[in-house]
Amino acid sequence: MMENIREQVRAFLARYIRDREVADDEDIFTAGHVNSLFVMQLVLFVEGELDCPVADEDLELENFSSVDAIVALVERRTAAVRG
């Protein structure tokens, strides 16, 4: 299931960062490829397509900075829901 999520995250990022492939551990914010609206789009994607609610306490740049980080966030959230 997590591999599926990784693929979805890669596909989503590929829509916004189009002239090259992004490595899973690459920081998408410091690479300077995204504009100021991107955080909103990313949050909507994580909530809508990955079915993972994003709350105030998740708002740390480290949670969204790379494919690996987003997958880890969804993993943690899913584990928390399962209890």
Binding site: F12, A14, R15, Y16, R18, D19, R20, E21, N35, S36, L37, V39, M40, Q41, L42, V43, L44, F45, E47, G48, E49, D56, E57, L59, E60, L61
Partner: protein, 396 residues
């Protein structure tokens, strides 16, 4: 693309239209001239539940779906852009809390905002930070038990009436959002008069001087004040203004159809002159197209689709420029009477111009839309786009 409204949305739209016709349309010119919206109108809006539009029902609000929210702002915009802008900024503050407020903050403030016992205002713009919000310079300093704010905000809609300001400032360099109650020592409101449009929107400067607030008034995480808290609120604001512009353009259509039907020159009504028909046709088409873009943005917004961000920019850009064209033509059709103040069309033109400046100016919309058009176009075969030439013109 979905365009049909549900029966419930249709009924809500009729209710909003009746409210606007009864309580706003007959008085809007007077408020514009007086540069003042009577407090009683705020109470009427509160009683009708319109101030709780984005607040979920479990916090005492109306919890409107995105389309119904749009219809409310269309009808308010048709009647009075100052009232529409009140609904806009109040909903922006409420929505920022719905989206990013901690549970205690939501429980404390959302019922008050929904009831209208507290009126919200959104304070990001500074003399040095307009379109370029990253130039934000207001400062927040950690002090015992909370923060001390220093800064200068201007053009704050309903700043003169607001009880609760959502203020953006830098906390140790990082953009952050704070709730500041009006009665806090160190917050001063200075009315701004003489605006071209939305003249009854009770604009104000807000000055903060060592203004102390408790730690729990922080909204969202430091570092995300602009990219998440302000961005979510501005996104809603843009959506609201786009619908408000549909209403404004609709008001131009109605005024122009009525006037061109009765005014006669050269032996027949204006509506029979082809060059006037050209203006009527463009106005009607622009209004319909703007409404469709708003509806599309609304359905995407309702389903939480990331594409709603782009769709909302398209809607706001198109609707605001269409409203300016419609109002310009409406004044033209009214001739000298369009210039005078016996007809509302001169107000529509002044109000429409404001819409090209707020919630992202026309130029900022153009830049953003052109940039994101590259994200929504189909990818070339093979997935990765061809590399662009570098500064030396070489593809490496």
């Amino acid at each position: 693309m979905r365009v049909q409204l549900t029966a419930e949305q249709q009924r809500a739209g009729e209710r909003f239209a009746a409210f606007a016709d009864d309580h706003l349309v007959p008085y809007a010119d007077g408020w514009d001239r007086a540069q003042e919206l009577p407090r009683a109108v705020v109470h009427l809006l509160a009683e009708a539940g319109h101030l709780g539009a984005v607040v979920p029902a479990d916090h005492g609000g109306a919890g409107l779906d995105a389309i119904s929210f749009g219809l409310l702002h269309e009808e308010a915009g048709r009647a009075c852009s100052s009232v529409r802008s009140l609904l806009t900024v109040h909903s922006m503050v409420s929505y920022a809390l719905v989206r990013w407020g901690r549970p205690e903050l939501r429980a404390r403030w959302l019922p008050e905002l929904a009831r209208g016992t507290y009126l919200g205002a959104f304070a990001v713009t500074e003399p040095g930070a307009g379109s370029d919000l990253a130039a934000l310079s207001a400062q927040a300093r950690p002090v015992a038990g909370g923060y001390a704010l220093d800064g200068h905000k201007h053009w704050i809609t309903f700043g003169q009436y607001a009880d609760l300001f959502l203020v953006f400032a830098r906390l140790e360099g990082r953009p952050a959002a704070f709730l500041v109650e009006r009665q806090r020592a160190g917050l001063t409101v200075v009315p701004q008069a003489g605006a071209l449009g939305t003249r009854a929107s009770m604009l104000a400067e807000v000055r903060l001087t060592d203004c102390r607030i408790p730690a729990e008034n922080l909204v969202g995480r430091p570092g995300f004040g602009l990219s998440a808290v302000a961005a979510s609120a501005l996104e809603l604001g843009r959506y609201s203004v786009a619908w408000g512009c549909v209403g404004l353009a609709e008001a131009c259509v109605r005024a122009s159809l009525a006037y061109a039907d009765t005014r006669e020159q050269f032996g027949r009504p204006l509506r029979r002159h082809q060059l006037v028909q050209r203006m009527l046709a463009d106005m009607v088409t622009g209004t319909s197209a703007a409404r469709l873009l708003c509806q599309q943005a609304g359905w995407l917004r309702e389903s939480g689709d990331p594409a709603s961000v782009h769709a909302t920019w398209l809607a706001k850009y198109f609707a605001s420029t269409a409203a300016v064209r419609a109002a310009d033509d409406a004044v033209q059709i009214h001739g000298s009477r369009g210039i005078g103040d016996a007809y509302p069309v001169q107000r529509y033109l002044r109000d429409a111009k404001v819409m090209e400046i707020i919630e992202g100016s026309t130029q900022l919309q153009q830049i953003t839309i052109a940039e994101s058009a590259y994200q929504v176009r189909p990818r070339p075969a093979g997935g990765v786009e061809p590399r662009r030439p570098d500064a030396e013109g070489l593809i490496r």
